[in-house]
Amino acid sequence: MSVVILPEAFNPWQLLEDYQQKISELNGKYGATAVFVGTMRDFNEGDNVSQMFLEYYPGMTEKHLEKICTQATADYGLLESLVVHRVGEINPNDPIVLVAVWTAHRKQAFEACREIMEDLKSRAPFWKKEQLNTGKNRWVEKNTKGY
């Protein structure tokens, strides 16, 4: 289980390759890997967005993400889980979040990955401030529904 808060850009596919090498003692044990990557779009609610600032609550954010993963590990029998979340200045097309889980069977992988993302989106302390092409700034007020 690993939770990472990152202040700089990351390549989710490279991180996944590296992480899977680190958990090679599980080779042959997992049959399913479910992954979600959230990426910054260049538009939101009808406006063009040129940049974003992602604020978090150092300490609580990590604690909450670890709690989510521990709970999902218990609920779905996860063999491994990885959550990476970007903070700070973010540009369009930058990955913002990566969630990955490894399980024996696919049902548990799909459900755990989605569950972790939904908890993260509704409960993990992160806040987005968008900078619009017009130069205006605005805090994003709520996330879209996931179910």
Binding site: E55, Y57, K121, W127
Partner: protein, 81 residues
Amino acid sequence: MGIAVKFFASMRDLMGDDRELDAQIVQQHNIKTVDDIWNYCVEGKERPANVLVAVNMDYVDGTTLVKDGDEVAFFPPVTGG
């Protein structure tokens, strides 16, 4: 030590910087719960229903008791991911 009070994102724009409530303030204003802290900071203005509260980095509700050394945070709905 006192009680550390933090605000995040749009709550900080609204409430200003983080504060440290020392023992004297706590006693003088009879601060016992999270709600008491809120009321002290805003001078009685009601807390919007969607404002989230954490004590020592765990989610709580307004009736939660606070004590010397605690860290209390108020913040708007989260928008990560």
